[in-house]
């Protein structure tokens, strides 16, 4: 597959919790705030639902960056879900970094239902960061890439 450096557009997977971040994304939409179409949102009931396997699978299937968004700590719809998620993702991202996967490819951001602007800004910034990094090579599955 030929990838033209100049035109590289990353694929971003964003796991968004149903109650805050997904609503935040919605708000960004209704407010006509721009963020790249390369961001694929996957709605989850709670950030706590995000299994480390989901993150890895996203990379396997061609994601160049994975971001998880949830309610702000303390505001979880299920009271404590995002606290657990926070510990998990901290450890997982640290491990990915330890294995030499570029740490900028993974990210957690807390976005409330009222923060449409933050959602758009976060995505813009994340896409920019990942674009600079280029294609995900270190955690790719070649079988999913060849056409």
């Amino acid at each position: 597959m030929q990838v033209n450096e100049k035109e590289f557009k990353p694929t971003i997977v964003a796991f968004c919790c149903n109650w805050c971040s997904y609503a935040g994304a919605d708000l960004a939409g209704t407010n006509r705030l721009n963020y790249p179409a390369d961001v694929k949102i996957i709605r989850v009931p709670c950030s706590c639902r995000v299994n480390p396997m989901f993150i890895l699978r996203a990379f396997q299937r061609g994601a160049d960056g994975v971001i998880m968004c949830g309610c702000h700590p303390g505001d979880c719809h299920y009271t404590t879900g995002n606290y657990y998620a926070r510990r998990r993702m901290t450890l997982l991202f640290s491990m990915l970094d330890y294995l030499g996967i570029e740490r900028e490819r993974t990210r957690v951001e807390w976005v409330s239902a009222a923060e449409g602007a933050k959602f758009a800004a976060t995505m813009n910034e994340f896409v920019e960061t990942v674009t600079k990094l280029g294609e995900n090579k270190r955690l790719e599955d070649l079988r999913c890439k060849e056409k």
Binding site: R61, G62, R143, C144, E146, K147
Partner: protein, 341 residues
């Protein structure tokens, strides 16, 4: 017979790698030997054996069988194979060399496995006689002579020289190819070395291992032995023995959905794994006892039953070194000795 000074081994490799791939046993990052594609300057490992056997050259751990593209109700079938290059595997020991003839009996039996056959045709096997057998070796119990391996060409290594002798057409072609770096050799040092190793062989701790209690005709007595329970009791159910074994050839066929098609691949499987025989409606081998028994019965009874008495083990001793709980075919054979009349 030709020879070459060990100092010039790199020249030999350089000549052998001309126009194709050459694989030699080399030490990896963890200090263990494995067959590695040679590049200039790579040194041959001094270890007796590689961690994994050489079977993967002909029967790789995973290989693509067929690709599918799906479109609505339609399926397109694509043969993914491309012409493979010729290659040489250098430094194969006698036990591994024998394992190829065992694998041949499975894969080249009708209907021929064309994937395996093509690799067999492309590969030249240059074997290396053993000069320092280890305590885990018991190839002689299965009729392998470590001083005279099979193979397309055979090498013998003395203190400072390497002797090489072609045995087959492919072997002759190999020797022709590297002839420029060789000089004529005399068989005497080789014979002297063979004799020295033959002195060591009877002193090996497993030299007296007997296969008399096993074979295709002992099926039911061995199968029903109550001793399988204690033998399998601490088995972890991992696949280490299977995956390091030169003769284990069971495989699985699986599909991988890539997002733009399906890749059907074949990969090594192990009868020690719990899902090996699992079906939608149940599993005929429910506990580790049955799975454990299957592996050893296959090598010592079922295989000889189907192959004129030839056993499915070559005595390389890899499972002895590598089993996490040190349970292995030798312990099984010793325990079951005398179970069959």
């Amino acid at each position: 017979m030709f020879k070459l000074s060990l100092n010039n081994l790199n020249d030999l490799f350089k000549a052998a790698a001309e126009g194709g791939a050459l694989y030699i046993p080399a030490d990896d990052g963890a200090g263990q030997a494995r067959f590695t594609r040679w590049c200039d300057g790579m040194e041959m490992s001094k270890a007796l054996k590689t961690v994994k056997s050489a079977k993967e050259f002909f029967f790789p751990q995973t290989e693509s069988l067929v690709d599918f593209k799906m479109k609505g109700k339609e399926i397109e079938i694509i043969d993914p194979r491309t012409e493979s290059e010729d290659f040489v595997v250098f430094g194969v020991r006698a036990c591994d060399a024998r394992s190829f003839s065992i694998l041949d009996k499975v894969f080249l039996a009708d209907p021929v496995d064309t994937y395996y056959k093509s690799r067999r045709e492309h590969g030249t096997i240059v074997t290396m006689a053993c000069s320092r057998p280890e305590e885990t070796c018991f190839c002689t119990a299965f009729g392998v002579d470590p001083t005279a391996p099979e193979g397309d060409a055979v090498c013998y290594m003395t203190e400072d020289e390497l002797f090489i002798e072609a045995k087959t057409e492919k072997g002759t072609a190999f020797v022709e190819k590297v002839k420029a770096v060789l000089t004529d050799g005399d068989a005497a040092p080789v014979e002297a070395q063979k004799a020295a190793v033959k002195e060591i062989l009877p002193k090996l701790p497993l030299a007296n291992l007997s296969t008399d209690s096993f074979g295709g005709d002992k099926l039911m007595e061995l199968f029903d032995s109550p001793k399988w329970a204690e033998l399998s009791a601490s088995c972890l159910g991992c696949g280490t023995c299977t995956f390091v074994c030169p003769t284990c050839q069971c495989y699985d066929i699986r599909d991988f959905e890539t997002g733009h098609g399906v890749k059907r691949f074949r990969c090594w499987d192990s009868c020690m794994f719990s899902d090996f025989t699992k079906m939608a409606h149940g599993n005929p081998r429910l506990t580790q006892l049955e799975r454990f028994r299957q592996r050893f019965m296959h090598k010592l009874v079922y295989f000889p039953a189907n192959n004129d008495g030839e056993f499915g083990c070559v005595g390389c001793g890899r499972c002895l070194s590598k089993c996490p709980i040190s349970m292995n075919i030798v312990k099984v054979m010793k325990t079951l000795e005398g179970e069959s009349k």
